[in-house]
């Protein structure tokens, strides 16, 4: 695989970005039909390299519906693991009650490996489960109606919760979130509210409805629960909020949130996220958004987050390398784990953007001490394959130089490229001239604006506005001009009286 960060054409990135906001937009209006469930990427990213993790042990870290979603994603993205992962996914779905999940997994498996025995639909099971689910739904609705007639708050709440759980298990996420929302009015203790909000949180995370995730986290934070409960909930809240922030692209916020996650998270939130994930997400987001000083102080020297980082030592090494300005090893580590992250359900969409950000920052950081750097020495660090492969490693057509050109054009690098001598020259700023030019420009624009306004006022004062010919004639006859001669204050009171 090409090791450049832009190995994936930006077009796929765009395609991936597209379904996300539409899901988020639908989020605010929960009741609307047509909210996208589990936003399905239009074009799947295909990963051909084997990842470093072992599938069995990887998936054993998680519980709940996320297992299926992760397996399905790996099965459809990775060419190496597709059969294995999809078979697991089918088994996972069959152990649950969600028929649509099962059908999806079987369809995907039949595309990859039609000869497998799991690749054909078990219609008997499907019918059976469908019937059971139907019966269960009716029974629960019936019960709820009964509770409502009895007007016992606690029963109604539990009835709604049961219905929500039922829908969640069967994959009707919209109905589930509606049912959970209905619990709100019947919650009597802060504990009830917190548990309801966590249920909502899980559903919204699975739906990819990140706005709802954020608002639920804020509600949780404002819920008046006991301090010890608050403490217990903090890690989960932080992890969920961090996820939401990462998905909305604000990596700095996400990094801060992940960094503040308490170690007590452990495996309490395995239906969504594991401590390993927190380490990876937090570390990557921090590298993408913080400068060296901050990374050193707030990530490496952060004793709480250190516990997370120890779970993923390569992330810690990468950050340490970055802080010590050893960019090549840092980028090498990240590249080595690119496959793993591409198979992560949350990182897949963001990894190429995060990597580009890290790389850009590394290049910027690298340039700081120099006033001019040879392109060759830069290329050995940031694009070693260019040195070996290209005839003209620092010619204008080499991809590394093109990348630099794009960065300069975007204003990321304050430098210019000297193609004759093959160096990158950083721009010296001359404050004196700059200030002079700025002063002149602001004076000029102020003068123009002032002139426009003065003229405008004069035109109005003299009654010379641009008007249609006939209205011009009329206004000469009426006592308009007299009014203009009047004192301003008098006119104002007139206007004031009229209005």
């Amino acid at each position: 695989m090409d090791t450049l960060p832009d190995a994936f054409p930006s077009s796929t990135q765009v395609k991936f970005a597209a379904p996300f906001p539409s899901g988020a937009a639908g989020a605010s209006s929960q009741g609307l039909p047509g909210v996208i469930e589990n936003p399905e990427p239009i074009a799947r990213i295909k990963v051909h390299d084997p990842p470093k993790f072992d599938l069995e042990s990887y998936i054993a870290n998680y519980v709940g519906r996320t297992r299926f979603n992760r397996l399905y994603l790996i099965g459809t993205s990775s060419t190496v693991l597709s059969t294995e992962a999809l078979k697991l996914a089918v088994a996972e779905a069959k152990s649950g009650k969600d028929v649509s999940q099962y059908e999806k997994a079987v369809r995907a498996l039949s595309e990859v490996a039609p000869t497998e025995e799991d690749a054909s639909l078990d219609t008997a099971w499907v019918h059976n489960v469908q019937r059971q689910v139907q019966a269960q739904s009716e029974r629960l609705e019936q019960e709820l109606r009964g509770y409502k007639n009895n007007l016992i708050k606690e029963s109604i709440r539990m009835g709604n919760e049961d219905i929500g759980n039922h829908y969640y298990e069967t994959g009707d996420l919209l109905a589930a979130s509606k049912a959970y929302t209905r619990m709100r009015d019947y919650c009597t203790t802060p504990n009830h509210i917190a548990s309801m909000l966590f249920k909502l949180l899980n559903v919204s995370i699975e739906r990819g409805d990140w706005l709802a995730v954020q608002s639920n986290v804020h509600r949780l934070r404002n819920a008046q629960s006991k301090p010890e409960d608050q403490l217990k909930n903090q890690p989960k809240m932080a992890a969920a909020l961090g996820l939401a922030q990462m998905h909305s692209g604000s990596y700095l916020d996400a990094a801060n949130t992940f960094l503040s996650t308490d170690v007590s998270l452990a495996d309490t939130f395995n239906e969504i996220i594991t401590p390993n994930d927190v380490a990876v997400y937090g570390g990557l987001c921090a590298m993408a958004s913080m400068d060296r000083g901050d990374l050193q102080r707030r990530v490496l020297e952060n004793s709480a987050f250190r516990n997370f980082l120890e779970l993923e030592p390569h992330i810690r090494r990468a950050i340490a390398f970055f802080c010590n300005s050893k960019f090549r090893p840092c980028l090498d580590i990240l590249e080595a784990y690119r496959t793993d992250y591409l198979l992560d359900i949350h990182l897949q969409r963001h990894i190429s953007e995060i990597y580009t950000l890290i790389r850009t920052k590394a290049i910027k950081q690298y340039l700081v001490p120099f006033s001019r750097v040879t392109l060759t020495s830069m290329a050995t660090i940031f694009a070693p394959q260019v040195i070996g492969g290209e005839a003209q490693p620092t010619g204008v057509s080499s991809p590394f130089v093109q990348e630099l050109i794009q960065m300069v054009k975007k204003g990321v690098l304050d430098a210019r490229i000297d193609l004759e001598k093959g160096v990158l020259v950083s721009n010296q700023t001359d404050l004196r001239t700059e200030v002079q030019n700025k002063t002149l420009e602001s004076l000029r624009s102020f003068n123009e604006e002032a002139h426009l306004r003065i003229l405008r006022a004069s035109v109005l004062h003299a009654g010379l506005e641009v008007r249609a010919p006939e209205s011009e004639r009329r206004s000469r006859g009426n006592p308009g001009p007299n009014l203009r001669g009047m004192g301003m204050a008098e006119r104002f009171t007139r206007g004031g009286l009229r209005s």
């Binding site: 002139h451 003229l455 206007g495």
Partner: protein, 496 residues
């Protein structure tokens, strides 16, 4: 003959009165003007009217008033005699012409304030009379500057001058007037505070005090006059390639307040404005926020081809740009904007090269034309284009040709922030001084406007308080002048 003697005594009285107080000087001038007007209208001069030697009795400087009326009388006599508007005797080789010329260069600006109509007629006559407009340009301009050195009050003479300069192609001659900001228009009453009358002969801070509706120094103005003036002024700046000022003048035209419909002059100015901003900045900038949104929409729909042109320019799509120019060739020609449009292509190339300058410190010409993909020229042509940019001073760079044949020419841009040279420094200083002067003159104009409208800081405070009480809108806490003007606009909207 006794008429002439009467005139002589009058002018003698006037010379004496000059040393008296303003009031008596004012009274004396008023008396003289009314009697002179009577003489002129009753044709009391009779045969003297066409007698050239009559003028020898008077001094054009000290007896400006009398001299002016006599000149008027003579020209009238000629006009009647030859039954044409501009008789041959008035034309340049004639005796009267040279007298008029010397008069307009030396007249007493204070006395003339009282005989504005006659003075204006004389100036207009000069403008009409010369077959070659360039002869009149400097005369008219100097007369204007002599009468009102600030030129801040718009008169019909302003428009006259701008038109003359355009016709004579004597663009630089108009600059002394154009560079002074027009801030006011003659109003019906010199001061809103009636009660005491203002003496035109006194020393005034602002020429607004003596150039009024009734002074006759300007003919009756309509909105067309000032729109045309600013459009013509913009065109003069365009001819001189001072795009920045041209854009400002055109912006004045398009941002003028309207009641209902907009004028075609404004639409024309908008079209030119788009082209000028393209030439200056290389992009379509948004027009001033003073323009009402519906007016902007109107402009855009009326100047569709221009907007399209600007869009394809800023998208950096040369093929599209060329297609756009070709497609609407007829429109450019009918709007008389072909000249500007043909400069747009050159400006495009320049902006592309400037963009490359931001990215590269040095590169070969070949690489440059690759970078600027739309430049479909061979290397020699590109090289000569760049050489012309460097020579014109638009681009600071050097071209290095290699002595061995066939090796590419290297283009090296000089540092963006090279060490300031002394000449740059002094240039910047003089520009700063110029801008601050114009700022000062604008502030004077602003004070004047504020005074006329009865706007004072206390008043603005009261208005603000009133608005907060009424809870209408939010008062922006910007500069007080700014706020004042905006309030002013709102009020005007209500009143008119």
């Amino acid at each position: 003959m006794e008429v002439v003697e009467g005139l002589m005594t009058q002018s003698a009285q006037l010379r004496e009165a000059r040393n008296l107080s303003d009031q008596s000087y004012d009274r004396q001038i008023r008396e003289n003007v009314s009697s002179l007007r009577r003489v002129l209208s009753t044709k009391a001069l009779g045969a003297f009217a066409s007698n050239d030697s009559l003028l020898d009795h008077f001094d054009p400087v000290a007896d400006s008033l009398v001299y002016l009326f006599l000149l008027r009388a003579q020209t009238q006599a000629f006009q009647e005699e030859f039954r044409e508007n501009v008789p041959a005797a008035l034309l340049p080789p004639g005796n009267l012409w040279s007298r008029i010329v010397s008069y307009l260069r030396t007249f007493d600006p204070v006395q003339v304030r009282y005989a504005g109509q006659e003075w204006r007629q004389l100036v207009e006559l000069v403008a009409q009379a010369s077959q070659v407009p360039i002869l009149a340009v400097r005369l008219v301009r100097d007369a204007m500057l002599r009468l009102d050195p600030s030129c801040a009050v718009f008169t019909s003479t302003h428009l006259l001058l701008a038109r003359l300069c355009l016709r004579a192609r004597a663009y630089t001659h108009a600059l002394p007037v154009l560079d002074r900001h027009v801030c006011h228009f003659p109003t019906s009453t010199p001061r809103a505070t009636s009660g005491f009358s203002v003496l035109p002969c006194a020393a005034h801070d602002s020429s607004l005090s003596f150039i009024t509706d009734t002074s006759g120094l300007s003919s009756k103005l309509t909105y067309k006059d000032y729109l045309q003036y600013f459009l013509c002024g913009g065109m003069i700046y365009m001819a001189l390639k001072q795009w920045c000022k041209a854009a400002h003048f055109l912006e004045v035209v398009i941002s003028m307040p309207t009641v209902g419909p907009i004028s075609m002059i404004m639409v024309e100015a908008y079209k030119k404005w788009i082209l000028v901003t393209l030439l200056e900045k290389g992009k379509l900038s948004s027009p001033s926020n003073l323009i009402a949104p519906h007016v902007v929409k109107l402009y855009q729909s009326l100047a569709k081809p221009y907007v399209n042109l600007a869009h394809s320019f800023s998208r950096g799509d040369l093929a599209h740009l060329e297609a756009e120019i070709d497609a609407a060739r007829e429109i450019w020609c009918t709007d008389n904007n072909m000249g500007l449009v043909s400069q747009v292509l050159g400006a495009y190339t320049k902006h592309t090269v400037m963009g490359i300058k931001q990215t590269f410190a040095a590169l070969t010409v070949k690489e440059l034309s690759e970078q600027a993909s739309p430049m479909r020229m061979n290397d020699e042509a590109t090289e000569s284009v760049i050489a012309s940019f460097i020579m014109s001073g638009a681009l600071k760079a050097t071209l290095v040709q290699n002595s061995t044949r066939g090796s590419p020419t290297m283009l090296r841009f000089s540092e963006i922030h090279s060490a300031p040279r002394l000449s740059d420094e002094s240039k910047a200083q003089s520009r700063l001084v110029r801008e601050s002067q114009s700022l000062g003159s604008l502030m004077n104009g602003l004070d004047e406007i504020g005074y006329h409208m009865g706007l004072s800081n206390e008043f603005i405070d009261a208005v603000q308080r009133g608005q907060t009480w009424a809870g209408v809108g939010d008062v922006n806490s910007g500069m007080s002048e700014d706020v004042g003007l905006e309030i002013e606009e709102d009020l005007m909207g209500e009143v008119s």
